[in-house]
């Protein structure tokens, strides 16, 4: 069984959902009835509406990211891409040297590796 505190909290959430326009049909009618009967519930719904307007207004305000945050991420990406390319290049160079050494020492059997 729900405690009185839990019931009050549930009511708080239901009126919040109503103020946010998220209740429909019977649920919405029940809350409307409560708001109609109790001025304090009406005031609660109005407070929710006011809060939601404030949140939306703040959410719509443009926010610019600090240049340092943007620049840092891009620099990191360039460095990591360069390292990746360097790794590929050094790897390929190393393989070429090994191939050349193998060829020079005559270690490759005829017919091995194709032509």
């Amino acid at each position: 069984m729900m405690s009185a505190g839990d019931q009050r909290w549930e009511l708080l959430e239901r009126i919040g959902a109503y103020a946010a326009g998220e209740l429909e049909g019977e649920e919405a009618s029940e809350v409307e009835q409560l708001i109609f009967e109790r001025p304090d519930y009406r005031r609660l719904a109005e407070s929710y509406s006011r809060m939601l307007v404030m949140l939306t207004t703040l959410g719509n305000e443009p926010v610019e990211a600090p240049e340092v945050a943007v620049g840092y991420a891009v620099r990191r990406a360039y460095v990591s891409a360069f390292m990746r390319s360097a790794e590929t290049f050094i790897g390929a160079l190393g393989r070429s040297y090994v191939d050349a050494l193998v060829y020079y020492l005559g270690l490759r059997r005829e017919g091995y590796g194709g032509t």
């Binding site: 909290w9 109005e46 407070s47 959410g59 891009v74 990406a77």
Partner: protein, 194 residues
Amino acid sequence: MSSAQDQAIRASRGDVEAFRHLVQEHSGLVYRVALRILGVQDAQDASQEVWIRVWKNIENFRGDSAFSTWLYRITVNTCLSVRRKESRRKEREYDAEYLPFLSEPRGGDADPEAAALSAGQREEIQAALGHVRAEHRAALVLRHMEGLSYAEIAHIMDVPDGTAKGWVSRGRAAMLVALSGGDLASRGTRGTAR
């Protein structure tokens, strides 16, 4: 295919220039969400961390969902991991003899000037958000500040739709309680979520 989607796919193939475009176009979104979830102190570091994670994981981006949804997911996860050490807040603890009310703006709700937020109100909202449990706060920010649907929030936060709805609902109630804290405190109650 949208240009962001196209750039993300190019970036996933290692195109740093495409990644740079993505950062420039979406840095506002990332910083804004981090700012609302974490506050100004941690938002910058978190934004940097988000973009580092994006670059590390972009090769896994296949374009199945919108790039912005994928980016929201990384942003929210990064912000929540920053807050992982934060103690679980007890939102439901308030003296419910008094309902949480917000005072009416001067000139009433219809006053167009009341629609613009003062610096003080911005600080109050940010401070009140800090009193809401991290997951609920993130869900609340996505719903009422970013304007996302419950299905999108559920996808971003990797939870069922019902959980996303519950988190927004709890966050909304905790936020109101926290915002009205000053008024309730003056009437001798604890009044806010902790």
